[in-house]
């Protein structure tokens, strides 16, 4: 937890003042029974009306000052909790920005999103309540006990007996319930998973006529959840009655002892009432404390989850000490390979490939043959776990990642855009590009009609580019990559949603670019790459052949099979 509390440091003053004012307020509350005892003993007992009035004014004053203390405490607690979480959120967000692709894969996006949102809220509530109440309840409990001792030591022994018992009961019930609550949560997750699954597969399930079976299996999960909820409910329902009984037993003891002591003249009637009031205060605080512990346990769990993300390493920058080696090409792979995890097979191995500036390289292969992996090595999205990758003669690891990526235009497989105008999105490629440059990129990307349909560069795009079709999105992502006039352009299956005619027009326009970028085209379609300067054919992570279309047809059986599967008769004709 220490790693998180660093962010609380700035709010050290608030974190101390909050609980402090709360304790001051609690102290005032502890004085109240003494004042009431005084009213009974001196006011009522002595028949002194003026004294009673004065003491009641004291009570009002105590309440008023208590309110001021309390408000001050709430303010400091809120400021510390909110400020702390705001800082933490910002830090975590920046931390995630620095993750490598590998770390992102391992952590999982949906996990990161829950950490940033619901876990953060939970922590905020937890910190706020902790600062306000966690110290207060034990303080009141022990304070009440100490006050009781000042009233009468013998009678107060009941407090010393009952408080440990109550504490034991509260903790026993809590400790039993917390793991059970976790079980309830996981059963709820199963009900949720079942519902989501059924909705996702509604067509398939109806096609197979599975409606009744789905209802049956849902009812089963639902019943399991309900049974568990009831079981936990039964146990947690014990807490209040049991503490009530224990406390009242102590009250009985207290009154009896009080009676004996008053009889002996060692205690007054008012003091007995005061002792009884202290006992009541303890009961109220215990109930509050139990609820508080539940909330705090939840926030601690959330805090731990946040910390586990903060513990993940950020991506490395430029590496200084590297194996020597240089390359005369724009891009060179030298026996390069990548393993995504330690146990699995390598996704790519032993790739050697030289590409000159301005060349177009096609990358083709079956599902899972390593096409995307290959191009992802160039901008160092992943680091080769075997061999080396060079850009302009330098190992990619020797570059500052930002500088390296600034020279490369990537069009990822999944075409996504961000909320904002089309201009905002295109400027991602190059923040200071002129409108003319943007329009030129749009034209090359065959996206002119998208601009028209959406109202030009100022057209609004919704988050994820939801208001565009797959093909429209793909062409805008191509334009975005072109805006930076990249030395290297990587198209990772970026024409899959385009019809063949548009795909062809796009390739023609790319060839006519005046700055002649080196282009990598990843595709499943032979038609998209058959005119490339060289084609890399991958098969299960290995290079099956490199060469031109015609050469590969002669020499590479994998390429020939792929080609035949798409152009059977024509190829022979």
């Amino acid at each position: 937890m220490r790693k998180l509390f660093v962010y609380l440091k700035e709010y050290r003053k608030e974190s101390v003042l909050g609980p402090l004012f709360k304790l001051l307020e609690a102290t005032l509350e502890l004085i109240v029974p003494l004042v009431v005892a005084a009213i009974i003993d001196r006011g009522v007992g002595g028949g002194d009306k003026g004294y009673a009035v004065r003491m009641c004014l004291v009570l009002v004053a105590l309440g008023f000052v208590g309110m001021l203390f309390s408000v001050t405490a709430q303010f400091f607690a809120a400021k510390a909790a909110v400020g702390f979480v705001t800082k933490l959120r910002s830090a975590l967000f920046r931390h995630i920005q620095g993750f490598s692709y590998r770390t992102l894969d391992d952590a999982g996006v949906s996990t990161l999103i829950t950490r940033m949102t619901s876990d953060m809220n939970q922590v905020q509530t937890g910190v706020n309540l902790t600062l306000r109440l966690l110290l207060r309840s034990p303080f009141v409990v022990f304070g009440a006990m100490i006050m009781a001792f000042t009233v009468d030591v013998r009678a107060a022994l009941w407090f010393a007996v009952v408080i440990p018992i109550l504490a034991a009961v509260v903790f026993a019930v809590m400790l039993t319930c917390i793991p059970l609550y976790r079980k309830v949560q996981s059963l709820l997750d199963r009900v949720l998973g079942g519902t989501r699954e059924t909705l996702g597969g509604v067509r398939v399930l109806r096609a197979f006529g599975k409606e009744d079976e789905e209802i049956g299996s849902f009812a089963q999960k639902n019943d399991a959840l309900t049974a568990m909820q009831k079981y936990v409910g039964r146990i947690s329902a014990l807490l209040n009655p049991v503490t009530y009984v224990i406390l009242n037993l102590a009250v009985l003891g207290l009154i009896y002892t009080g009676g004996v002591r008053v009889q002996a003249g060692l205690l007054t009637q008012g003091a007995v009432v005061a002792l009884y009031n202290y006992m009541s205060q303890i009961l109220v605080e215990l109930i509050k404390l139990a609820n508080l512990i539940l909330t705090v346990t939840k926030s601690v769990a959330s805090g731990k989850r946040i910390r586990s993300v903060l513990d993940l390493p950020e991506a490395e920058g430029a590496v200084q000490a590297l194996p020597a080696g240089d390359s005369a090409y724009r891009v060179e792979f030298r026996d390069a390979g990548l393993r995504y995890n330690d146990t699995g097979d390598p996704a790519l191995q032993g790739v050697s490939l030289c590409v000159r500036a301005g060349e177009t390289v096609g990358v083709i292969g079956g599902t899972g043959s390593g096409k995307t992996t290959l191009v992802n090595l160039i901008p160092r999205f992943y680091e080769a776990t075997q061999g080396q990758v060079f850009v302009d003669g330098k190992d990619v690891r020797a570059y500052d990642p930002a500088a390296l990526r600034a020279r490369i235009g990537v069009v990822p497989q999944k075409a996504v855009l961000f909320a904002g105008t089309i201009r905002d999105n295109l400027l991602w490629g190059c923040p200071d590009a002129s409108d003319e440059a943007l329009l030129a990129a749009v034209r090359t990307a065959q996206a002119g009609d998208v601009l028209e349909a959406k109202g030009g560069l100022d057209g609004q795009i919704e988050a994820f580019g939801r208001n565009l079709s797959g093909g429209q999105r793909q062409r805008l992502t191509v334009a975005r990559a072109l805006v930076r006039r990249p030395d290297i352009l990587i198209l990772d299956d970026s024409a899959s949603a385009l019809d063949f005619a548009t795909d062809a027009a796009l390739r023609r326009a790319l060839r006519e670019l005046d700055y002649r970028p080196t282009v990598f085209i990843v595709s499943q379609r032979t038609s998209s790459i058959r005119f490339a300067d060289s084609i890399v054919t991958l098969d299960e992570g290995r290079v099956a052949g490199v060469g031109t279309h015609d050469a590969l047809l002669e020499t590479c059986s994998v390429y020939r099979e792929i080609y035949d599967s798409q152009f059977r008769k024509e190829a022979r004709a």
Binding site: V44, R89, L188, F208, L225, Q229, N240, Y244, V273, G429
Partner: protein, 589 residues
């Protein structure tokens, strides 16, 4: 506006009460026990007050009387605690059962809702109704049961006891206590704005987090990490400011109401003390014991008032959640099958579409005057650009949607007059969107044919070219795959879906981009399996890759909801129309 909301709320309350009907006996017992339990717990201060009155001063203590009162207190406390426990269990039972019933009902409804509804509502939204809303509803119900009623009973009870003890002092309490309620209300209405701001900014931030983190790799590919973080910090800063206000101002309620209560307490102490002094020695003295009981009551009386405002917001929230649930439950289901709907059998594969018209949105026409006659054993391919209505035809064939006009006949029978189940069982369907459930590979494969033998399963998987990779999985056919196929690749998932369909040996086949994620070499082998399988059976194929549709008997070329061309591959190429344009562009340099 407010009136309609109240009316809607009343409607929801009625529905909630209807859900409670099976548990009305438990509910009645719970309410009864609560009343008794409150009475018992309120009786305790009276008894303690009496005990205190027996302890006056040195030598004036009636210990025997004290002990006998203490025994009575013990009995009352024990009984009260037992009742509290029973009430807790009863309330738990009622609310969890009601919610279970409602959830079951909602889920049953999901099974008969038309696809039109399900397609229009995001899965996450529907799931959140069945899960999160139901959960909130349960919490609210439980809280309502346990707090609202005991709260009301406590107020009534304490009031009764106080009036019985001393009406004048009781009046002080009754008149002043609602002040705390007023104070709470005042604060709530004046801080609502801050909450509203906070949730608006929080929603904005969540959307930003969702957008950026989902596409983190793109952000990094374009070196936008800092820009994203700066944008985040801007929103985050605003959220911080707004959250501080919301958290702080809302936390004012507690100290304020507590102050009001303290004032009431002081006044009771004062009045009580004065009455004590004044009535000392009279026939009906107001004793110190009564005063202590009164003080205890004053505390108990005000407590429900403090809690009630919280409970009411919780309840309103719970009602809102319940309303969303009921909205789902009351949603119009699909038209049920006719009572005398025929069961399709001996399907040979004759399908006839006559003057079919259909649209998803009433004023945006999609399919109009579609006519198509398919004879048994024909392969029908549907081609065209995205959004032209290809998948819609499949929706209509499977009767996921009903036609707006015209009719679809299978073996000469209008599909609206046969059972959905028998119609759908006549088709084997594989969609581009693969769907697998959490479970073993075998469970997934036998979804359509639970009694399939291992031999049959392996044969189907071999035909679908899935056997090889399944065997390489850690536990072969018994490997558990996670939600939505877990770690399987998209292509492997499609192979499993194809094998699953092949196992059922349906008389007709629907393939909607079924091989889009499978590499073309494997696809070629699967196509052969399809061909063998479809010998003499009708099939409908939607595909992007023109290589997969070339061998169809009929190719429907669609554009904007209309069939613009029909014919065989060669016919259509000769025609040199839209199809030829689509086809030839794949050879363009």
């Amino acid at each position: 506006m407010k009136k309609t909301r109240q009316k809607a709320e009343r409607g929801t309350v009625r529905k909630v009460l209807r859900c409670l009907r099976p548990y009305r006996a438990s509910a009645a017992v719970s309410i009864l026990l609560s009343a008794v339990s409150v009475a018992l717990s309120l009786y305790v201060p009276v008894l303690i007050g009496r005990a205190v009155d027996c302890i006056v001063a040195k030598g004036q203590v009636d210990l025997a009387a004290v002990v006998s009162i203490l025994w009575r207190i013990g009995a009352v406390v024990a009984a009260g605690a037992l009742l509290q426990w029973l009430i807790g269990i009863l309330n738990n039972r009622i609310s969890f059962h009601v919610v279970r019933d409602v959830r079951d009902k909602a889920f049953r409804k999901l099974q008969i809702l038309p696809l039109r509804y399900l397609d229009a509502h995001p899965v996450g939204e529907t799931v959140s109704r069945v899960i999160a809303d139901a959960d909130q509803f349960a919490d609210g119900l439980l809280l309502g049961f346990s707090q609202l009623f005991t709260g009301a009973a406590t107020i009534a009870g304490t009031l009764g006891f106080m009036l019985a003890l001393r009406p004048a002092i009781a009046a002080v309490v009754v008149v002043l206590t609602p002040m705390s309620f007023v104070a709470a209300k005042f604060i709530a209405t004046h801080t609502y704005r801050y909450f509203h701001d906070q949730s608006a900014i929080r929603a904005e931030q969540t959307a930003l987090i969702d957008e950026v983190l989902t596409n983190q790799k793109v952000v990094q590919a374009f070196g936008r990490e800092k820009a994203a973080a700066d944008r985040f910090d801007e929103v985050n800063g605003r959220l911080g400011t707004s959250a501080l206000k919301a958290v702080f101002f809302s936390s004012l309620t507690n100290p304020t109401t507590r102050f009001v209560n303290n004032v009431v307490y002081a006044l009771v102490a004062l009045c009580g003390a004065l009455v004590c002094i004044a009535s000392a020695g009279t026939a009906a003295p107001f004793t110190v014991g009564s005063l202590s009981a009164f003080l205890a009551y004053a505390n108990q009386y005000t407590k429900p008032f403090n809690e009630i405002s919280g409970v009411v917001t919780e309840l309103q929230n719970a009602l809102a959640c319940a309303a969303r649930l009921f909205e789902l439950i009351d949603e119009e289901p699909q038209t049920p099958d006719d009572a005398d709907a025929a069961v399709l059998s001996d399907v040979r594969g004759n399908v006839e579409l006559r003057d079919v018209a259909f649209s998803y949105v009433p004023d945006r026409k999609l399919i109009e005057d579609l006519n198509l006659s398919v004879r048994a054993g024909q392969r029908v391919a549907i081609v065209g650009p995205t959004g032209c209505g290809k998948t819609t035809i499949i929706n209509l064939l499977m009767r996921f949607y009903d036609v707006d006009a015209g009719e679809i006949d299978v073996e000469g029978r209008d599909v609206r007059h046969v059972t959905r189940r028998s119609l759908r069982a006549s088709y084997g369907m594989v969609l581009q969107e693969t769907w697998l459930r959490e479970g073993t590979v075998r469970e997934n494969l036998t979804l359509g044919k639970p009694d399939a033998t291992q031999d049959e399963i392996v044969r189907a998987c071999k035909a679908a070219h899935a056997d090889g990779f399944i065997r390489r999985l850690p536990q072969g056919y018994d490997t558990v795959i996670g939600e939505d196929g877990g770690s399987l690749s998209q292509g492997q998932k499609q192979l499993l879906c194809i094998a699953r369909m092949m196992l059922t040996k349906p008389p007709m086949l629907i393939l909607d981009e079924a091989t889009s994620s499978i590499d073309t070499r494997t696809e070629m082998y699967i196509q052969q399996a399809f061909r063998l399988m479809m010998e003499g059976r009708t099939s409908f194929i939607v595909a992007h890759r023109l290589s997969t549709i070339r061998e169809a008997d009929v190719i429907l070329v669609m554009r904007d909801g209309h069939v613009v061309e029909t014919g065989t591959h060669d016919d259509l190429l000769r025609k040199n129309g839209f199809y030829a344009e689509l086809y030839n562009s794949q050879f363009a340099p």
